[in-house]
Symmetry: C3
Subunit: 325 residues, 3 copies
C-alpha cells in the first residue's frame, strides 16, 4: 500500500517537474526553478491566467503520457509548452471576463490537441532536423479563434486589430512608454502585459542563462525599432506586442540553436529584424479577419535560420543535443 | 477486325470498372458494385449531377491513361475520384441552373487537371508514406471558384456563407431535422442533400464494409454534436454540412488506414472531433471571401493522424497494402 | 600595390558579370550579354526602375558573398534575380513617385533578405530535386506590401485590384490592344509595361535561345486567351498582366527544365494554361486584401510540373545540369 502511495506521489512530483520544465520551454529555457518563478510572475499579473496556464501544461503533458509519446520528450517538458500557450491565449482573447469557468473546457481540449499536432508534425520536420517549436500552438489558437468568432454565444472573444491602422490625429508618441515596451516584450511571450511580472520573467531567464536574457532584451529592442520604422499603432509599441516576436527570433539564434560567436550574434540581430518585420506583415494580414499573428513570424524565421546553408550552418548544434544545458 | 472491336469493347468495359471504383474511392471504399449503387443514388437525387459526376470520373481517368500514369493506380480508380468531386462541386455551386451545358467544359478541364496535381503531389507525400487523398480536388475547386467569382458572366456561382453567422432571433432548433442531418452528412460527401439517396449511399458503403459504414454514421453524429457546441447556423446542421467532414475523418482512421481495435476506435472519434472543429474554423475563414472549406479539414486531419507517432502508429497499415479488401 | 588594385578591379568586373547573369535568370536565361540588353531595355522604359533593379541585383549578390554561400551558385547569378525582382516591384507599387530616395533602403534590405530565403528554402526543395526559383521574391514582396499598406506614412503603395472586378457598362474590348498585350506580357516579367522595351527584352531572350523566346510568346498568348475566357478587366489584358504568368509557366517547361520534344511542347502549353488560370484565381484572392499575386501561380505550376511522374518525367533534366547552355 505504502509502496503504491509512494509511487503515485512520485508520479505527481514528476509531473510537476515536467510541467515546470514545459513552462520554461515557452521562453526557450529548460529549468524547473525558472518555471516556478515564471508561474509566480503570471500569478502576480493575473491568478486566472496562471490557473489557465497551469491547466494547459498539465492537460497536454498528461495527454502525451496517455498517448504513449516518447518518455524522454515528455519528461523534458516538450509536450507542455504548446498547451500552456494555447490556454493562456484563450484566456487573453476571451471577452467573457476572468473566472469564466466554461473556458476551462476548450482550454483543456485545445491543449490536448497540441500533442496530436506535435506528434504529427515532428516526423515531417525531422527530415531537416528541425524542431516542432510552437507551430502546434499557433495552429490551434488560430483554429480556436476562427471557430468561435467575436459573437459566439458560448466563447466570445476580442478580435485582434492590425498594427498598421492609422492613429487618430494629434497623438504624440511617448518615449518613456516606448522604452517600457522593451521589457514588456519579454513578458508578452507569456501574454503578460504588466511591467513587474515581465521583469520577473526576465529574471527567470537570467537565472537559466544570462546570454539568453541579453538576447531577449536585445531582440525586443530591435522589434520596437522595427515597429517605429513602420509607424505602427502606438498601442502596439507600448504593450510590448511589437517586441516579443523579435525577442523570440533573437533568442532562438543567439542563445539556443547555435554556438555563440560574433557571427552568430550578427545573425541573431538579423533574425530579430526579420521576425519583427514578418510579424507586422502577418498581423496586418490576419488582422483583416480579426485574427492575431501570435508567434508565427518568429517561429517561421527561426525555422528558416536553422535551414540556412553557408557560414551560419557551421555553428549549428544538432537538435538532439540542443537542450543539454 | 473482330479482334480489334473486342479489344476496344474490352477497354470501354475496363474503363467503366475503373470509373466505378473511382466513384467509391470518394467515400474511402473500393468496389465497382458499390460504385454503381452510389451513381444510382446520385441519379435519383439529380440526373444532372450524376451526369457531371460520371463525366468527371471519365475525364480524369482518361487523362491519367493518356499521361502515362501508373496502370495499377489507374485501374484501382485512384485517378477518378478527385475529378468526380470537382465536377460534382462545380455543379452544386453553379448558379446558372441545371442543364447549363457550358459547365461541361470547366468540369472536364478541372477533372483533367486533378491528374496533374495527384501526380505532382504524390512524390512529395510519399516521403512520409502518405496518400494524396482529396488534396487535388480541394485545391482545384477552390481555384475554380476563385477564378470565376459570383458575378462571372460565363460561370457564375453561389458564394458560400460561413457557418458562424448569427441566426436571426426567435428561430428554434428542430431536433428531428438535426437528427436527419446525421445520415445527410454521409450523402454530403457526394454533395448530395436529399435523404433517401443519402441512405442509399450509406447502403453502398455497408455493402463494402459494415465497419466503414458504422464509422461514417458515428463521425457524422460527432460532427453534428460539434456544430451544436459551436452554435453554427441551423441550416448548416440540417443539411448535413456539419457532419460530412467528421464522417470522413472518422472513416479514414477507424476503417481504412489502421487495423481495428478499441484504441483505433478512440482515435477515430478524436479524429472526427478534430475534423469537425477544423471544418468550422476553415469554413469561417474561407467564408469571409465566399469560399467553401470543402473537405480540407478532414483531409488535413487524416493526414495528421497518419503522421502520429506513439501508440496509434503501431496499428498503421502501410499505404501500399491499405486498399486490399 | 598594383596587384591588389588589379584584384579589386577583377572582383568588381566579376560582380558585374554575376549581376548580369542574375538579371537574365529572371526570365530563365543565363547570359551576361542578354542581361546587358535587358538592363538597357529597363533603362529605356524608366531609369529609376533600372536603378532599383541594378541595386537589387548587387545588394543580394553581395549579401550572398558575405554570407558565404556556394560560390558556383553566386557566380551563376542564382542569388541575384530574386533581389532584382523585389526591388523592381517595390518601385512599381510605390505610390511616392519616382526618385523617392528613401525607397532604396527597403529595396536593399528586401533584396538582401532574399538570400536568407533562397538559402533556407533550398535544402527543403532539394529533397525533390526542385529549384528555389522565385519563391523568395514572391514571399518578400508580399511581406513588404503587407508591412507598409496603402497609407503608410513612409512607404505608401498602390493596392492591387483583383482582375475579376466587373467592367463598367458600355466598354468594348479593343482587339489591337489585346494583341499588344501579348508581347507586353513578356515585358511584365520585369514589371515593364512599355511596348518597345518589352520587345527588346524578348530580343534578349531570343539571343540566348530562340526556343525560350518562342515559348515566352506562346505562353503569353495562352495567358491572354485565358484572361478572355474568364472575362477579366480589360486593363488586365491590355497591360500584359494576364500574360506573364502563362509565359513563365510555358518557358519553364518548354525551354528550360525538360528536353524538347512534341510531348514536352504539349505539356508546356498545359502548363501555360494552368499558370494563367491559377494566376487569375490567386489575384482574385489576394486582391481582396489589396495584394498582387506576382508570379506565385507560375512558380507553383512549374514546381508541380517538375514533380510529375509519368510520361513527362522521362524528359526531365536534373537540376544540376539544367543551366548548362
Amino acid at each position: 500500500h505504502l509502496d503504491k502511495y509512494m509511487q503515485e506521489k512520485l508520479f505527481v512530483l514528476q509531473l510537476v517537474v515536467w510541467g515546470l520544465r514545459g513552462v520554461t520551454r515557452v521562453i526557450l529555457a529548460n529549468n524547473p526553478l525558472s518555471g516556478a518563478l515564471i508561474l509566480a510572475a503570471l500569478c502576480w499579473a493575473s491568478p486566472w491566467q496562471a490557473l489557465l496556464g497551469t491547466l494547459g501544461v498539465l492537460a497536454s503533458t498528461l495527454t502525451a503520457v496517455i498517448m504513449g509519446q516518447d518518455s524522454a520528450e515528455v519528461s523534458g517538458g516538450l509536450h507542455g509548452f504548446n498547451g500552456m500557450l494555447v490556454s493562456l491565449l484563450m484566456g487573453v482573447f476571451s471577452s467573457a471576463g476572468d473566472w469564466y469557468w466554461w473556458l476551462l473546457l476548450p482550454a483543456c481540449l485545445g491543449s490536448a490537441t497540441c500533442v496530436f499536432l506535435s506528434s504529427g508534425l515532428s516526423p515531417v520536420l525531422e527530415r531537416w532536423d528541425l524542431p516542432v517549436a510552437v507551430f502546434p500552438f499557433n495552429i490551434i489558437i488560430v483554429l480556436y479563434l476562427l471557430c468561435t468568432g467575436p459573437d459566439n454565444p458560448y466563447f466570445p472573444h476580442h478580435p485582434a486589430t492590425p498594427p498598421g491602422l492609422l492613429e487618430p490625429n494629434g497623438t504624440e508618441l511617448i518615449a518613456v512608454e516606448v522604452m517600457l515596451g522593451i521589457p514588456l516584450g519579454v513578458g508578452q511571450i507569456f501574454a503578460c502585459g504588466a511591467l513587474w511580472p515581465s521583469l520577473l520573467i526576465l529574471g527567470a531567464v537570467l537565472l537559466y542563462s544570462p546570454l539568453l536574457a541579453a538576447h531577449a532584451l536585445l531582440g525586443s529592442a530591435v522589434g520596437t525599432l522595427v515597429g517605429l520604422s513602420m509607424a505602427v499603432r502606438h498601442d502596439y509599441l507600448y504593450s510590448g506586442l511589437s517586441g516579443f516576436n523579435g525577442a523570440l527570433g533573437c533568442m532562438a539564434v543567439g542563445g539556443l540553436f547555435f554556438t555563440f560567436s560574433w557571427r552568430t550574434h550578427l545573425f541573431a540581430i538579423a533574425s530579430a529584424f526579420l521576425s519583427a518585420y514578418a510579424d507586422i506583415a502577418l498581423s496586418n494580414l490576419l488582422g483583416t479577419v480579426g485574427l492575431p499573428a501570435c508567434s508565427w513570424a518568429s517561429t517561421l524565421t527561426a525555422t528558416l535560420m536553422l535551414l540556412l546553408t553557408g557560414s551560419l550552418a557551421a555553428y549549428r548544434i544538432p537538435i538532439g543535443r540542443v537542450m543539454a544545458p
